[in-house]
């Protein structure tokens, strides 16, 4: 008698837990050739709401850690990812229909991207912060601080794309609610498992799977979300609508970038877009 396969249930990743969607819904995810791969949870607006609550709760602790400590945690994600590279290569081949070599390239790049951003944690302040010369006996110091809770619509690149949008946000101290690529959600949840087992406090990254058009407007209009990254929004009308909804509480917005080459070196922009500059004046001498 042949052994029965043990199939994995792909759920959401919210607040360090893996709950099913509150709505009880799921949707079919196919591989590149149109065959059934698995069912993924289809998140509702209430899952998005719960994720924002979890991200807000995690923000104080995460942004309060030293940059050095955040670097260690993100580096640890890279370490754990390295240990599970076969699983990710297999998932990428199945989901995107790419060759073994190509899958390996993407996993390598994703791990390297994490390490690259981890290195930036305790350097970004020196690069974009400043001691400003002022006309008076004052120290005038500008330092970047995280914006808060950032909603992210992830691009198609199931692993590298996701890592490339999430890592720059958390490394600076933001917490994130990310809507995984609608067509390729499974790797995002597996990445959630990696994050759950790598010292990243619950709630710092929350992963939702499901319909972008359904969930994103609720995050864009949410008054407790401080920024929205629309990188993965391919529908121009939806992107405009989301940007307009975000204006209500002056969210920082990052516009869609459909043609990004994720293998290229990313630069600092993804980190600096969701930072607030705090400037303090301090008298010199007595």
């Amino acid at each position: 008698m042949s052994r029965i396969d043990v199939r994995k249930t792909y759920k959401l990743y919210i607040g360090g837990q893996f709950p099913r969607s509150e709505s009880g819904r799921s949707y079919v995810v196919n591989d590149a050739k149109g065959r059934l791969l698995a069912n993924a949870a289809q998140a509702s607006r209430k899952d998005a709401r719960d994720a924002v609550v979890a991200a807000r709760a995690a923000f104080g602790g995460w942004s309060g850690k030293t940059a050095y400590n955040r670097a260690q945690v993100v580096y640890r994600i890279a370490e754990v990812l390295e240990g599970r590279r076969e699983q990710f290569e297999a998932e990428l081949r199945a989901a995107e229909g790419i060759s073994t070599a190509k899958a390996r390239t993407y996993v390598d790049a994703a791990i390297d991207r994490l390490v690259w951003y981890a290195g930036w944690a305790d350097k970004i302040t020196q690069v974009v912060g400043n001691a400003n010369p002022v006309a008076g006996p004052y120290f005038n110091l500008s330092t970047p601080e995280p914006s808060g809770v950032i909603a992210v619509v992830a691009p198609r690149g199931a692993l590298l794309g996701l890592v490339s949008v999430v890592a720059p946000l958390i490394i600076t101290g933001n917490t994130v609610v990310v809507i995984a690529s609608e067509d390729n959600p499974l790797t995002a949840i597996t990445l959630g498992e990696v994050m759950a087992t790598s010292d990243l406090p619950g709630g710092v990254v929350n992963v939702l799977t499901g319909s972008q058009a359904e969930i994103a407007p609720w995050l864009a209009s949410h008054m407790d979300v401080n920024g929205i990254d629309l990188t993965g929004v391919e529908d121009v009308a939806l992107a405009t609508e989301l940007e307009a909804a975000g204006a209500d509480n002056l969210k920082r917005v990052r516009r869609p970038a459909p043609d990004t080459d994720w293998l290229a070196e990313p630069g600092l922009d993804r980190m600096t877009r969701f930072l607030e500059t705090k400037t303090v004046w301090h008298p010199i001498g007595v």
Binding site: R49, V52, R56, W218, S221, H222, M223, D224, V225, A245, D248, N249
Partner: protein, 329 residues
């Protein structure tokens, strides 16, 4: 008396005083004990299952809007901390009168609940707004003081203008079976209250069993409490759905026997709109719609109000609100 088979009936049929007087029962410690221990036992599993079942009801759209406004009107906005200042009480009283300054259609809360020395301050801010001032008294929260001190505590609060007094029972006396002592205590405090309404706090987290909650409920109702209240908020677990269910059954059965209505107030641990709506569903199903009124049901809470306001804002604006848009307390 043998317990009745039904877990939902708490009325002691045989000992019932049909004329609404309990003189026979409270004649002596032993007759009172016989009565209280003759109350039907609570089916713990059944009670918890019933409370959990009622918690699954789905309340949406217009019903939800109604429930949220009703819950806001039922809130006893509470601050009972050693660090309370006059400024904080004034801020809290202002919030009680107008919980959402951005929306004039938002109703006021039922009362603010403070320590006796803060009553005058709260009264001054609230004026004739209709929001009551409730004061905790009788050596809150432990209830460990001599009787004359407890009574002085009550008189102090009443003289300062408190409309409602929240007293704590002596759990030590109750648990060691000195029921008449507890009865006398409640009756004396009730007398000291004058026109002020009396809420009797059981601290159900310390009463150990559901049977004791039922006994305490009857004891307090017979002694003349206007409200029975679960907890001080200082002990965990505070208010729970099953405990409130038992108390709602008690007030329902008490009205059936005596015609008098007694209010119920769960306090402590109710933090979300979802929780509050569960309680309201239970009030409607167990005690009946007559209790769906701030005169007969209250929430003792502080953080609950902000969640109610956020949900209310979500319903009126169509987008999720955040804690940044409401005062901290």
């Amino acid at each position: 008396m043998t317990p009745t088979p039904s877990s939902t009936a708490s009325a002691p049929a045989e000992h019932a005083a049909t004329d609404g007087s309990f003189d026979d029962i409270v004649r002596s410690d032993s007759s009172l004990r016989r009565f209280l221990h003759g109350l039907p036992g609570v089916d713990q599993v059944g009670c918890e299952a019933r409370a959990a079942g009622l918690g699954t009801r789905s309340i949406k759209t217009t019903s939800k809007a109604f429930a949220i406004d009703l819950a806001i009107r039922m809130v006893d906005l509470t601050t009972l901390e050693g660090q309370d200042t006059h400024g904080k009480v004034r801020a809290l009283a202002s919030k009680a009168m107008r919980p959402d300054p951005a929306d004039p259609t938002c109703p006021a809360t039922a009362a603010v609940c403070v320590y006796p020395d803060m009553v005058a301050t709260a009264k001054q801010t609230l004026g004739d707004s209709g929001v009551h001032v409730a004061a905790v008294a009788t050596a809150f929260p432990s209830g460990r003081a001599a009787m004359d001190i407890k009574l002085a505590d009550v008189q102090d609060a009443v003289e300062a203008g408190a409309d409602e007094i929240d007293m704590v029972i002596d759990r030590g006396a109750f648990l060691s079976g000195r029921y008449l002592e507890v009865f006398e205590e409640i009756a004396q405090v009730r007398e000291a209250c004058g026109d002020a309404h009396l809420k009797v706090i059981f601290e159900t987290g310390e009463l150990q069993t559901y049977d004791n909650v039922r006994r305490a409920s009857w004891l307090a109702m017979m002694a003349g409490g206007h409200f029975i209240k679960t907890s001080t908020g200082k002990v965990q677990p505070a208010a729970t759905l099953p405990v409130t269910l038992i108390m709602l059954e008690a007030v329902r059965d008490f009205r059936e026997q005596t015609g008098q209505m007694v209010g119920v107030k769960p306090a402590g641990g109710i933090k979300t709109t979802k929780d509050a709506i569960k309680y309201l569903v239970m009030v409607n199903e167990i005690a009946g719609p007559d209790w769906l009124d701030p005169d007969w049901f209250r929430f003792g809470a502080s953080t609950l109000l902000n969640d109610l306001l956020m949900q209310r804002t979500k319903m009126t604006t169509g987008r999720y609100s955040g804690p940044d848009y409401f005062t901290l307390d």
